[in-house]
């Protein structure tokens, strides 16, 4: 039975119009190809959906990183194969439920999102009442079994709220995971969001997030990916009202034959909006990375300030990085900047460390950690230590290889 046959049965049995429509949309769109600009460089030819069944099985026990994160949580939300399985702790003003999938026009052209809408068990919806202020983070521990799974998340932050949300994704080998997330940040709210992905290295991770930022709201989003064979992470922000601010940091570390594929779109639709994007990653072994980022500024979005930076560290002669920043500006009264770089570790800095008695391998590890330092430092305090040590462990493996 093909994957599509399985999908048709699931959707037929569910008898929900949005799912039926989504599957029809998926079939009409078909899987994307690399001739589509947003999929350029992606190893889509290696993707054979028919090798996957829909994921099923019980949730595994928590990884040490997930445990480290959850001990610091005000609220722990556990999700397995896209299904809400547990909410632990209490955070006043925050409620969690799983609701049926609804049709969402914003993802109409994205085949993988449509597939997710058709096959996900539902949307994990986290609602934050207006005026909610949390010191400790809300942690979403998401796990997946072997096979295809489609975790959908909707985070709705009410006005004048302030909180941190940390998502952690891990799972079994042989996973094909398509997370689709929407973050709605209402007026004068402040959301710090961290997403940490560590799937086994044979996995496919095709993630998409869209943030909608209202007047004077602020989203600081950090995306860190160490896992999956193909890690795709598209993170978009719509700045729809004046004064909205978006900071996005994406971090990756490639080893073996991994592919890290980051796409971003900062869409400025209102005056006095700002976005700062910093994408930094290191590729070792035969791994490669792709960064294509678009800053789009609508006519009338005066006094917009938009910046994007992408730096790539090449740790082996066989590693490769593509960096393609793009601007699409339809307003004159704006400040816009982009920068990108691709290169190896600084040879003289490395020698300097070695000449202080630091063995080469340790010197390289320290330098890569240093290169990624500002990415970790920007995470919420309560979780940066956990992520930093996970990253250090991973780095030792990469440099030792």
């Amino acid at each position: 039975m093909t994957f599509l046959d399985q999908a048709r049965i699931v959707v037929r049995d569910a008898q929900q119009a949005p799912r039926t429509l989504a599957l029809e949309a998926f079939e009409a769109l078909g899987l994307p190809t690399t001739s589509d600009e947003v999929w350029r460089y992606a190893p889509l030819r290696e993707l054979d959906l028919d090798t996957f069944s829909l994921a099923q099985g019980l949730a595994p026990s928590s990884s040490s990183v997930a445990q480290g994160l959850s001990t610091r949580a005000a609220l722990l939300i556990r999700v397995h194969n896209g299904e809400l399985i547990e909410v632990r702790g209490e955070a006043p003003g925050v409620s969690v439920r799983q609701r049926p999938v609804e049709t969402d026009e914003r993802f109409a052209q994205d085949a993988f999102s449509q597939l997710a809408f058709a096959l996900s068990p539902g949307v994990v919806e986290i609602t934050v009442e207006p005026g909610t202020v949390l010191e400790e983070p809300v942690v979403v521990e998401s796990t997946v079994s072997r096979g295809a799974s489609f975790p959908l998340t909707s985070l709705v932050v009410g006005a004048r709220s302030s909180l941190s949300v940390v998502e952690h994704l891990s799972g079994e080998s042989g996973a094909f995971v398509v997370p689709v997330s929407h973050y709605a940040v209402a007026e004068s709210s402040n959301l710090r969001l961290g997403t940490y992905q560590y799937l086994p290295f044979d996995g496919w991770h095709i993630a998409r997030s869209l943030a909608t930022l209202e007047r004077d709201s602020h989203l600081a989003q950090a995306v860190i990916s160490l896992g999956a064979g193909y890690n795709r992470s598209r993170n978009d922000a719509d700045l729809v009202a004046p004064g909205a601010r978006n900071e996005l940091r994406t971090t990756y570390l490639g080893r073996d034959a991994q592919v890290h594929d980051y796409r971003t779109r900062q869409y400025h639709r209102a005056p006095r909006t700002s976005s700062v994007l910093l994408s930094k990653g290191a590729v070792a072994g035969e791994s490669r990375s792709i960064y294509t980022g678009l800053i789009e500024i609508e006519k009338g979005a005066k006094k917009t300030d938009a910046r994007q930076t992408n730096h790539n560290l090449l740790l082996s002669p066989h590693a490769h990085a593509d960096s393609v920043p793009n601007l699409d500006i339809r307003e004159n009264d704006v400040v816009c900047a982009h920068a990108s770089s691709v290169g190896p570790l600084d040879e003289l800095q490395r020698w300097y460390l070695e000449s202080r008695g630091v063995p080469r391998r340790d010197a390289e590890r320290l330098m890569i950690q240093g290169f990624l330092y500002e990415m970790v430092a920007a995470l919420p305090d309560s979780v940066s230590g956990v992520i930093e040590s996970a990253l250090a462990t991973e780095l030792s493996a990469v440099v030792g290889a």
């Binding site: 460390l353 000449s355 080469r360």
Partner: protein
């Protein structure tokens, strides 16, 4: 008692031979000074001995107690007892000095020892937890090199024009620390300079004059006075 022997060392920089058979010998606890005009090869000697990637050794040997430094990786040369303090210590953004020294080997309570050393050379303690040399003044950088020196306790230290660009206070602090080290663990000090200022702070045992990539004269402190009076011109004539 340790011995540091440089024997007929030849080094190329960008395809050009800069050291042309340089030799000198020194022992534990001694202070040797290398003087010479710009371009004579003083800094090349320091960088080549520390394994700088821009310098290619084409001949000769350099040993500490018989161990050939030139076949070792830079960090192994440190284990063998060599330390280089640089004229221009490099910025290493993202790497804290304390983490670098912690990775430099089994050095015990590194952070505490760094604090002690920092106090001895008048370096603000908080700088030890900052990224290496980033935003540090010239004087702070040299003092930070002395902290590394004090923690690593090398058998022989090469100081590459560590006195240049230093104010009198910093120069005094550096020189006092070096002088103490010669007593504390019989550290041998090889100071490269073209100023006499350092010599007023430390008493050298031997002065070597380098010209065109070779040692052309060696002698006691009186040699520095001769240089002061007559310049390098008479020594250039000694080249063969």
């Amino acid at each position: 008692m340790s011995h540091f022997v440089i024997d007929e060392l030849r080094v190329e920089v960008a395809g050009k031979e800069v050291l042309r058979g340089l030799s000198l010998e020194m022992s534990s606890g001694e202070v040797h000074v290398i003087m010479g005009p710009n371009g004579s090869g003083k800094s090349t000697l320091a960088h080549a001995l520390a394994g700088h990637p821009g310098y290619r050794v084409t001949g000769g040997r350099a040993t500490i107690d018989g161990v050939d430094l030139l076949t070792l990786a830079p960090a192994e040369r440190v284990s063998a007892g060599l330390f280089l303090a640089l004229q221009h210590p490099l910025d290493v953004p993202g790497v804290r000095l304390v983490d670098a020294l912690a990775a430099a080997g089994e050095l015990g309570e590194v952070r505490e020892r760094m604090s002690e050393e920092a106090a001895r050379v008048g370096l603000r303690d908080e700088l030890l937890d900052r990224f290496m040399n980033v935003d540090l003044s010239g004087g702070e950088r040299k003092r930070a090199e002395m902290v590394q020196f004090g923690v690593l306790r090398p058998r022989f230290a090469i100081l590459d024009e560590i006195d240049s660009g230093l104010d009198v206070d910093a120069l005094g602090a550096v020189a006092r620390r070096l002088a103490q080290a010669t007593a504390e663990w019989s550290c041998g000090v090889l100071a490269i300079t073209h100023f006499r200022r350092l010599l007023q702070e430390m008493t050298p045992d031997v002065i070597h004059v380098v010209s065109s990539g070779r040692v052309v004269a060696s002698g006691g402190p009186e040699l520095a006075e001769k240089l002061e009076a007559e310049g390098y011109e008479p020594f250039s004539a000694l080249e063969s």
